[in-house]
Symmetry: C2
DNA sequence: GTCTATACCGAGATAGAC
DNA sequence: GTCTATCTCGGTATAGAC
């Protein structure tokens, strides 16, 4: 168990310095992310954010140029490292399954221990806005890295042959599921949750055609 | 393969009669669902919907009392049958894995062949709005039925022991993933997609502690 | 059943005092 | 760095003619 965790792939520790410049800015990001998650970006008003922070609405604009800048700061926080790590993982050598597993554990652990609620950002389609093209592109490179990794696993016979695009979408949504769950049950251990999440994905990718699964599905289980 | 599909659990065929009363109403629902998916409910304006349909904004209100009524019609269309089927499935007898599988296939097939884009409705948190409490409750009963089914599978030793709440969230998000994928690749066969999706979930639920998976993850695969 | 005209409100953002 | 006051715009919805 320790052996797996040891293959640490984490980048430089999460940019908390960039994240904690002054306290109000930090609190704005936390409250905004929580509100974005619950109501969506567009449906969250700057007045709501200000109220949650305990300041008046115009005071927000002292810390961020506009509402969108808050959103972009959140994307930066959650995406900048992930892309680097994903690309490094895809270009490394060794078992693709093992690498994908390690990446998933790292990603989930990172996201789950961030005091931010980010699931809404990625599940909704705000990123289609032209002004956010830069972040859409960043997410796209992350996706490409993941698809590459999946393709390697399929070629090596480690994963069942499925469209890597579907797999990538599945991975993203399973990640979101875990963030949602951690949001509902904050008492759960992020590390264990991260491990289980990675396992769930790997199981789905590797065992979709096992005989045991066929038995289970048909209801003629023997075990 | 046919044997599985035969255990049909579908309710009365999807309420297309309710859905096609007059053509404009129908087109409003289709265009609105597509816009909601891309931009979210709140971020979609009634002007956009009207433009997509090819009428002027105030004409919408001849067909629906207000914007929210459009949303509720979409919830009704996607949820009414699902709840009935889920509860029937949870209360039936036999292998829980087989029943969950059948439900997932039915649910995915239904959603994927609906000419509506519904993923955003369930991934965002619109349902927290007090005015939509009725639909939130309906979704909640669907969730309870699924959790019950999962619990049966765990007790029977068919599924790995995990919090049924997490499983339920995972199922919801894997479903969303498939809808998103079908949205990107409309050429894919809904039936095959539905089967694969169900398999993915079942694999994750049943094989999370298999030895084969451990080998794969640790990179010491023999096969 | 669709139109034009319009009421009304809440959104994001700015100006300038303290 | 936060405030009050205020501008402007785009949103939902209504009135009433055709």
């Amino acid at each position: 168990m320790a052996s797996k965790a040891d293959r640490t792939i984490g980048a430089s520790d999460q940019n908390w310095d960039q994240f904690a410049p002054n306290d109000t800015r930090r609190r704005i990001l936390m409250e905004a992310s929580a509100l974005f998650r619950r109501h969506g970006y567009q449906a969250t008003s700057t007045r709501q954010i200000a109220a949650a922070v305990g300041i008046r609405q115009p005071s927000l604009f002292h810390h961020f140029a506009n509402k969108q800048a808050i959103l972009e700061a959140l994307f930066s926080l959650s995406l900048d490292n992930a892309v680097v790590v994903a690309e490094r993982t895809a270009n490394a050598s060794g078992s693709a399954a093992a690498r994908l597993h390690d990446y998933l554990v790292w990603d989930l652990e990172t996201l789950l221990s961030l005091p931010l609620s980010l699931s809404e950002l990625y599940s909704s389609d705000i990123l289609r806005a032209p002004e956010l093209a830069h972040w859409a592109a960043k997410l796209e490179s992350l996706y490409l890295a993941l698809e590459k990794l999946v393709r390697q696993g399929i070629e090596a016979g480690e994963f069942v042959a499925t469209d890597p695009v579907l797999i990538r979408i599945l991975i993203a949504n399973v990640t979101i599921a875990h963030i949602q769950y951690a949001d509902e049950r904050p008492d759960r251990d992020p590390k264990k949750l991260a491990r289980d999440g990675a396992r769930f994905v790997l199981a789905g990718l590797s065992n979709m055609e096992s005989a045991h699964l066929d038995e289970l599905i048909s209801g003629t289980r023997s075990r």
